[in-house]
Symmetry: C2
Subunit: 283 residues, 2 copies
C-alpha cells in the first residue's frame, strides 16, 4: 500500500516564518506516527538507510523565494506526506488520519486542519495505490509510451559520489537510479536494478523547463544548503525496449510516493509523472 | 583577432518565413567571405573539422517558437556573425564589413542593413578582442572568481558519443571541453586540454534557469532536429585552484566568439559569459 496524503491548513494568526519548514513538517509527521506506534516511529527516525516516506514543506511558502515568508490567515497552505511501506501506510490510514487533531503546530505556528485526504478526486496530488496495482498500470499496458515526463514541484537535487554539492540536474541515471533503489527497498516485487544502466545509456533528456531554487536548512544553511531544480522534464527512450520502457514508466509513476533525490523527508524532491502529451512539441 | 559582428536588418516587405534561418544566414555569410576571398571561403566550407566562425539565426525569429515566423517591415532584426581565426577576422574587418551592400537576402526575404558594428558601445553583443588580450583579461586578473555564469541566447546542445540525439544540458565537461577544443584549434597560445577534466571533476552546476526549444533544419527536420536549451547557468568551482579557475574564466569569455555546442555556424549555441554577480543567490 502506498499513500499520498494531502493536508490543507489555515493559519490561526499571521506569522512570519522561515520559508523552509521541511524539518518542522518532518518532525510533526514523525510525532503523529509516534503517537500511534512509537516503535515504528523509532525505526523511521533512526539509521542511515532509505526511508519509506516523504514530507513536503508547506507548498506555498517554498514558492515565494527568500529565507522568510508570511503565513496569512486568509490563505490556506498545503502539506503533503507520502508512505511507500505497507506497514506505515496501514498505520497512517487506520490510526493517524482518523485521529488527526483539529489543529497542528509547525515551526511554532498554529494551523487549523481544513482538509485531509488521500482521494485524488479531492486533491490532484492525493492518491493511494498498491505496488501490484502500479506494476499492472504501468508495465502491463498494451502500449508503453516512448517518452515520459516528470514534474518537480519542490527543489530537487542528487547526492553524487565525488561531488561536494548535490547536483541540481535531472540526469536520467540519477532520477531513475534513485527511484529503483527505493522501489527495491520497500516493494514486494523487485525491479531489475539494471534499470539504472538502461536510464543512463538509453534514456535522453528531450525537453524541459527548469530553474533552480536555493533551500537552506537551519537559519544560515548550517544544517544543509541546496540548490534544487523545479519544473518539468521529459525523457525519450533512444533504444526502444518494451521491458525497460515499462519499468521506466513504473518508476516515474512511483515518484509521486517516493519523491526524487535528497532530503525527500524534509520537503525536497516532491515529484510526479506527467500525463502523456498528445503533441510532439519539444520531444 | 576575434570579432563579434552584429547586423541590424529591416525587412523591405512583410513575409512569412521558416523561423530557423540558420542555414540561410550561414550561406549568406559564406557568400560574403567568398566574394572577398574564394580560397578562404572554400576552406571554411569544406572538411569536417572545427570552423573558426559562428553565424546566428535572425534572433527575433527564433524567439517566437513555431516553425514559421513573420518578418515585419516595422521591426528590426538582428544577425550576428563571429570569427576566431586571425585570417578570417582580418578579412571581415578589412574587406567584408567595409564592402557590405545596403541590403541582403536571407531565405528569399530582402532585408535592408540599418546597422553593422563590432563596437560593444553600439550593441551589447558586438565585440573585438585578441587571444592575448583575452588571456590577459581572464587569467592574469588579481582575483579570479570562484563562480562563472553563461548566457545561452540561442538553443544549445551537445553531440555526445553513444547518444543518438544531441544532449540539451549544460554539463561542465561538455561546455568547457568544447570551448577548449575550439580555443586550441585556432589560438596561438595553447590551453592545457585537461581543463575538460577539471570541468568534469571540479566544476558544479550551481544555479540555472533554462528551457529547451525545438529547432528544425529543413522543413520537417530532415536536415537535423534539435532540442536545445536557452537561458542562464552558473557554475561553481568545488576545488579552488587559481590556474584552472583562470582557464575556465578565459573559456567562458571566449564563448562570445566561439559559440557552444553543435551547429554554431547555423544559429545554435550563441552564448556569452555573464558579468559576475554581487549577491550569493542560487550559488
Amino acid at each position: 500500500m502506498l499513500l499520498s496524503w494531502v493536508l490543507t491548513l489555515q493559519p490561526e494568526e499571521e506569522a512570519t516564518v522561515p520559508s523552509n519548514q521541511g524539518r518542522a513538517a518532518h518532525a510533526w509527521f514523525l510525532g503523529r506516527v509516534r503517537a500511534a506506534d512509537a516503535t515504528l516511529a523509532d525505526e523511521l527516525h533512526g539509521g542511515q538507510g532509505l526511508r519509506p516516506f516523504t514530507v513536503s514543506n508547506l507548498w506555498e511558502l517554498g514558492r515565494e523565494g527568500g529565507p522568510e515568508a508570511s503565513l496569512l490567515p486568509a490563505r490556506t497552505y498545503t502539506l503533503r506526506a507520502t508512505s511507500f511501506s505497507p506497514r506505515l501506510s496501514a498505520l497512517l490510514r487506520e490510526r493517524v488520519l482518523p485521529g488527526l487533531p483539529p489543529a497542528l503546530s509547525i515551526g511554532g505556528a498554529a494551523l487549523r486542519v481544513v482538509g485531509s485526504t488521500t482521494d485524488p478526486a479531492q486533491h490532484p496530488w492525493a492518491a493511494g495505490a498498491t505496488f501490484e496495482g502500479l506494476v499492472q498500470q504501468f508495465t502491463l499496458a498494451a502500449d508503453v509510451p516512448r517518452t515520459v515526463g516528470l514534474r518537480f514541484l519542490s527543489p530537487t537535487a542528487f547526492r553524487v559520489t565525488g561531488k561536494k554539492r548535490a547536483v541540481p540536474l535531472p540526469l536520467p541515471a540519477l532520477v531513475f537510479g534513485g527511484l529503483v533503489d527505493k522501489w527495491n527497498a520497500f516493494a514486494p516485487i523487485q525491479v531489475h536494478p539494471d534499470v539504472r544502466r538502461f536510464a543512463e545509456e538509453c534514456l535522453a533528456v528531450s525537453s524541459y523547463g527548469l530553474e533552480t531554487r536555493r533551500v537552506l536548512f537551519g537559519e544560515d544553511g548550517e544544517r544543509g544548503a541546496y540548490s534544487g531544480f523545479v519544473g518539468r522534464c521529459h525523457y525519450y527512450v533512444e533504444v526502444p525496449d518494451r521491458y525497460w520502457m515499462g519499468l521506466i514508466q513504473l518508476l516515474a509513476g512511483f515518484s509521486l510516493y517516493a519523491g526524487v533525490g535528497v532530503r525527500t523527508t524534509m520537503g525536497l524532491g516532491q515529484a510526479r509523472k506527467l500525463e502523456p502529451r498528445s503533441g510532439g512539441r519539444g520531444r
